[in-house]
Symmetry: C2
Subunit: 295 residues, 2 copies
Amino acid sequence: MKVLSAKGIKGQIQEELKSAVDDIKEKNVQPTLAVVLVGDDPASAIYVKGKQKDCELLGIKSILKQLPQETTQKQLLDVIGELNEDSSVNGILCQVPLPDQCDEAEVMRTILPEKDVDCFHPYNVGLLTSGKPNFMPCTPFGILQILKRYGYDVKGKNVTIIGRSNIVGRPLSVLLSLKGWDATVTVCHSRTEDIKGICQQADILVAAIGRAKFVTADFVKKGAILVDVGMNRIDDPTHPKGSRLVGDIDYEGIKEIAEAATPVPGGVGVMTRSMLMFNTINAARLQNGMDPFEI
Amino acid sequence: MKVLSAKGIKGQIQEELKSAVDDIKEKNVQPTLAVVLVGDDPASAIYVKGKQKDCELLGIKSILKQLPQETTQKQLLDVIGELNEDSSVNGILCQVPLPDQCDEAEVMRTILPEKDVDCFHPYNVGLLTSGKPNFMPCTPFGILQILKRYGYDVKGKNVTIIGRSNIVGRPLSVLLSLKGWDATVTVCHSRTEDIKGICQQADILVAAIGRAKFVTADFVKKGAILVDVGMNRIDDPTHPKGSRLVGDIDYEGIKEIAEAATPVPGGVGVMTRSMLMFNTINAARLQNGMDPFEI
């Protein structure tokens, strides 16, 4: 079984992104991403650091707005409002989860659609669903990049997605069935009857359900391509931390059946971050009257 | 095979809509729909008349803005702008197709989302995709009404949709897989390999491809429910007009296999119009600080 690691393609993508940043800088535009981080969730802090590092590597300026745990919704919206009005800021993202007193949906609706590099604003989700996206949903587009760069065409293929979240399953299902991608997509979820039987027919199976080792060998058709979006922490006393990250796929027994699979960690998650950079560069391009670039 | 005619359920729906109109009128709100008709396409004129008649029957006020064939995009947007600003107008729809000099997508984006009773604005499409719709896409929601009122639950069922248009296939696929509806949805289209094989597994098969008699008996699983969204005019010298309307399903041979099917005409098309009325009443409710009503 081939391992579709992010490592194998990340260098290539970085070069393309770097060259796009250099290109736009030559036109005197400094692409800039503002990240809003509310509270002191340690995982969120790590994610934000990762995004800042990605910016730095590419020459994208990153601004961090760090707000205390007790920030009110009004205060948060005011910060978003300032970033919306600041024309030097091209992209804005607000790290989730937010503290309980904040309303995530309202925050997402408040970020200007042209700066919404996470592609969470309903307007951008609607453009995507209608087949005319300005921005790409980061995780779904990262998955398409992995498949494309490892030489797997999705056109006409039966793609089954397990999970219907607004971050992965649903936007991925929409994207894959658009003209140009042309996959035949099935979305399974917790209410699906005979989920195994449906998955067994997939040429490409995407697990995005958030349950450790949910997908076992008996879900998989001989020769299928597997994409694992899961990030589940499970106890493991043999590990230094006492736990480790696993995906939604139980790789036991799958090696003999699948043609290829993305690993966890080192697969989809890494790509997601690169796609955020891609959207940020395109936000800067669109705001400066340039056509978007493609990867 | 049971025939799932609109006639069998329309009276019931009309009563519910009528009672919702009466209810809002008692609160001194006159629900009002503005229809913009550009040019002299005879089919469009008939559709618009139908919508006006539906309004009249329910006590919804309808306003017709009839514009000449040579209307410019600017003139059209100005009319939309006036209707947006007119607080007595709750819903706005612009009949398509528009003349070539007009840009349909821009028109749809210009109608205020809170008055977009066709649910074509990207913001409303995005709210739908994210599971929090303000308005329902009319044809998809009409299909759900037929199934529900004839006693067919979609929860957990395998629903296959042939067609991925922005008016029917795609919004229907999104709606059906949302929490609460909980169907397992597959979307097929022109690039799908083995379309027959996939359709044969459907508990509910929706044909929305716009090709006369495309779905033949060999697409259909024993006991399946068929929904026909097609409206294709074919030559028929035995008919007074020399032609007649047929759906996307070839009913020949299907009677012995399917459990039930919607007819054409007299099926989905009729429901679409009622759902427009539903959205118009809810637009009036939402704009006057009331919760939406449900059917």
